[in-house]
């Protein structure tokens, strides 16, 4: 499916392929025991601490957390992008191959053919001096697609993401697009290589709500059509709930809970998830006022010995402050809380 000659092909691909690639039984993305440490003077705790995360083909997985939780850092490691001076332990496997152990050629292959990323700010993702047509065809040309064919493909992609007058759009510069329209262009470019995995890091945070709905709609439709797996990084639990199959919740560099979406909202198992849900303002007429979580997230300069959330947690006991909870799986769910079995959230 990464054959260069099929670059202009927009035919549907089955949503759950897994038969046409080398790794038949391996997950599309499998992060295991990923720990990232900055040099000692830069941080007191690891920015990522034993992260396990999986995305299957065609699946949409949410990675939710507040600023500083490490969600974006985790997302970027999939492309082999580590913070400066960071030391990594663990594995980040894309279709079975560890990205962290790859050389330059391997990484180039992953970034070019397997994994694409959409960032929060579309203006920061494009060169303001180059026309949109150049931006869209750059990746295709590098893969050896002839110029005319690449332009035709770019036009197709723009049509797919709902840009009116795609032919004219190719000649325009980024500043001639609104934020929402430019994010569509960026999504089109990300999909131009027909990636198996799309990393979306807060792709709609900078957009208006009605635009957000449209962009998410486009992402979902294309993902469905092409069978792309998606890791959707966001701070917005409601948005994650609306589009994801499963959600991982991160706090201070650790996964504290993961569940299928419906279960996570109906029965959150970690006090942080429950508190996050309660602090989100809701639109429904009978919704309670948002409940603040006291205190603030753990900074990189702090390294609490026990559970990182203990200082803000209404259910914390002495043991929580000294003993770090491990992530324990229970069927499709996993939770890292010493008191998870006590029914404290009921």
């Amino acid at each position: 499916m990464f054959d260069k000659t099929t670059a202009g092909d927009t035919e549907a691909r089955p949503a759950t392929s897994g038969t046409d690639t080398a790794g038949r039984d391996v997950p599309l993305l499998d992060i295991a025991g990923l720990t990232l440490r900055l040099p000692d003077h830069a941080a007191a705790r690891p920015i990522l601490d034993g992260v396990d995360l999986r995305v299957d083909r065609g699946e949409t997985v949410g990675l939710v957390g507040e600023s500083g939780s490490g969600k974006s850092v985790a997302c970027r490691t999939v492309l082999g992008l580590l913070p400066k001076g960071a030391r990594a332990e663990g594995t980040v496997r894309v279709e079975g191959t560890d990205v962290l152990a790859m050389g330059a050629a391997g990484l180039r292959d992953v970034r070019r053919n397997k994994v694409a990323m959409v960032f929060q700010d579309p203006r920061a993702s494009v060169n303001p001096m180059r026309r949109v047509g150049d931006f869209l065809t750059e990746g295709l040309r590098v893969r050896g697609v002839p110029k005319e064919q690449a332009l035709a493909r770019a036009q197709e992609l723009l049509t797919e993401v709902g840009i009116r007058d795609p032919h004219g759009a190719l000649r325009r510069f980024p500043h001639q697009f609104s934020g929402g329209m430019l994010q569509r262009v960026v999504i089109a470019a990300a999909l131009s290589g027909d990636p198996a995995l799309l990393l979306a890091d807060e792709p709609t945070t900078a957009l208006d709500v009605t635009t957000q709905a449209e962009v998410v709609g486009i992402l979902r439709r294309l993902q469905h059509r092409h069978g792309t797996g998606m890791l959707f990084v966001t701070h917005d639990l409601e948005l994650a709930a609306a589009i994801c199959d499963r959600i991982y919740v991160m706090y201070a560099g650790r996964i504290v809970e993961s569940q299928p979406v419906a279960d996570l909202f109906a029965r959150p198992r970690h006090p942080y998830t429950a508190a996050l849900l309660a602090s989100t303002p809701r639109l429904e007429a009978d919704a309670a006022a948002p409940q603040p979580i006291p205190g603030r997230p753990v900074s990189l300069a702090e390294a609490p010995p026990g559970c990182a959330f203990a200082a803000r947690c209404a259910f914390a006991i002495e043991r929580c402050r000294s003993e770090a909870p491990a992530l324990v799986s229970d069927g499709p769910a996993a939770v890292a809380c010493l008191r998870a079995d006590e029914g404290i959230l009921q």
Binding site: A213, E214, R221, H235, D236, L239, T280, P290, P292, R312
Partner: protein
Amino acid sequence: MSTSTEPTPVALEVRGLCRTFGDHKAVDDVGFTLPPGGSLGIVGESGSGKTTTARMLVGLETPDAGSITVDGHERAHRPRTRAERLARAREIQMVFQDPYLSLDPRITVHDSIDEVLRLHAPEADRPGRAARLAELLDQVGLGTREAGALPRRLSGGQRQRVAIARALAASPRVLILDEAVAALDVSIQAQILDLLARIRREQGIGYLFVSHDLAVVRHITDDVVVLRNGRIVESGRTADVLSAPQHPYTRLLIDSVPGVGWDPERIAENRRALAAPEA
């Protein structure tokens, strides 16, 4: 400060406000009233004119037409004297969206609040100002450690508390909050919303809450106006507007908020349908 002869039920009154940039009508005949201690939401997307409206109210932008009065004092024209400018600052204060840009990075929290106190209460002596400063810090939940710090030592939520304390230092009648909680994490956002609700309860300051976030507006405002392309398309009690929206654009905004049963395809369709007649 309010010295009008009869008691005014209206703290802020805006009528027929217009502002054009080039040939683009950013704000077109906008009007609303805010009762003393009331809370009015101004809702809209980018380009709706909500920020331009807010900027005209505080005097960062001069309206082409219309009137803005606080307790009956007209403030649409430019202030002529220093005293008039200061008096206006005591009428309306503003908290901006980005707490990383709205504070001077070289001035400590203590000094930046003290600066406002010196401007607006020059008669107060040093101990008097210190007492007021302690009171303000206490109101926004900051301690002495934060007071001595430079803004870069503070988190986003703490900085927004500083911005609120600075605004309150002028003892304004009306506080404009322009997307003031939009840049904060939800757990911190809820803290600030809580804080704002308490301040309004205790001090009777009127809020003009400019936001794109309907869920936040539902919890912090009594009334709401919905702006689109510079015009008000709907206004009323917040609870009524959100539970029974009359204008299709208001409905679109409500539908667009992610949640259970969210249908981006349908929202996109409605959005196109709404835009079609103007295209």
